[in-house]
Amino acid sequence: MPKLEKKDLVKNWLLGYSSETCYNYERLQGLGNTNAFMPIIRALYPEEKQAEELKKYLIFFNTEPSWMGTVVHGITAAMEEQRANGENVSADDIISVRSALMGPLAGIGDVVSQSICYPILAGVCISLALSGNFAGPILFEVVYKVLMLTLGYNMYMLGYNKGKEAILDMLSTGLLNKILDAVSIVGLMVIGAIACGNVNIDLSFLEWEFPNALGSVVFNVQHDVLDTLLPGILELAAVLGVWGLLRKKAKPTTIILIIFVVAFALVGLKALTGAY
């Protein structure tokens, strides 16, 4: 009875962090996963069957590999163990469970890692660093890695111990989608706050002085119009404008160009005030 030991599982989990070493558009993490599953396959199958068993990994696969997606590898390891022990698990079963899970977990994992943890952590650490405090980058590195590895390890072991039933149940009852909605709510509120602090458009250089009967009136576009209308209205407009362009499938590079055009148009306006 071939069994997986703790060290095989840990190796599999750790090698999963090399899923994107040969990242490519054709099969994304396929080759990396083949590499990651070698310890599992070696522990479970005789040598002549190992290459054949590894083929199910050298196919298109993409999930969030570091924070949450490790659960897919844990589940797979459990399924491989069952298969090697003669239970009724086919190679196609393993492939289809993996492809069913990779999408939802990429969603949840990317929201948690890239739109909640990273922006919060980066926001705090960038302001520390800009004020000359070495805690900025060091805190970023340490906190990011501790969160990532703790979550990654526990998700992996959860997958291995609970097996596919638990996770597939979550998928079929829509629980996974509800969790995705919940983390998305947090993510959206975080990026709302991030947008407020980090997008900066200040038109206070657009200022004209008009002489009239009372003496003179200073007219400042930023302070007298925009800020009284709604603070942050330009920042919101910029974000919504970008979002609208993205929804129309505009490429990021195109949007960057548009931003530069807008910036220089504003410089043109500044020139009208006689600044240069």
Partner: protein, 245 residues
Amino acid sequence: MVLQAILVALIATISTWWFSHTITRTWLYPIWSGFLVALVMGQPLKGMMIAAAINLPYIGFITAGGSMPGNAMFAGPVGTALGLAAGLDYTQASVVGVILGSVAVFAWNAYMTINANWVHLADKYLEQGNLKMVRLCNYVPSFFVSLLLNGLPAFLIVMNGETFGNWLQTFPQWIMDGFAIAGGILPALGVGMLLNFLGKKKLIPFFFLGFALAKFVGLTTMMVTVVGALIAVLIYYFQNEKVGE
């Protein structure tokens, strides 16, 4: 200078060639990869501050399915090195970083395209049952692809940093003003991409709620996160209760 340029080139190479995310996951972000550059350039304090400024527009940086808004892995180390070598201030460095990152998107696309060849090679080795070579295919060739696409340009840019700095100093004020304004707007791209990624229509109001809490009430990002988590938990429970009935 040559040794420093080589080290910077290596950091730029590894920032894209993710040999293990236990180490490289944070090298995607300029605040860390740029700080490493600052250390090897012997100017930790100034370099750290430049790196942080370069990271600012990438605060909404997201990679999903291998596509990305700008190549922060190139902009971080190379921008920091260039900023130090050319003596740029933070705003200048931040804008130069964004320009580098936008141009270097092509390097990322080339990397992702060329790497498919090593997968085909691995196909052959797996067919022959040569597992050692399959593992080699995962780790080795992509290093050289990244070295060529990221390391070499990084090396050349750092070696010519001073010339670039002198050239930049000749720019008139209005061009620098334009760059500075663009630098303020550019974070909107990252935020817009996050919105696009998360944007289920019924959830979008939460983005405005987060913005309003920060702008009108003056809460910090951390406070907004806590409020967001509370709302998420409440909604999650009430949803389940309805299903339970």
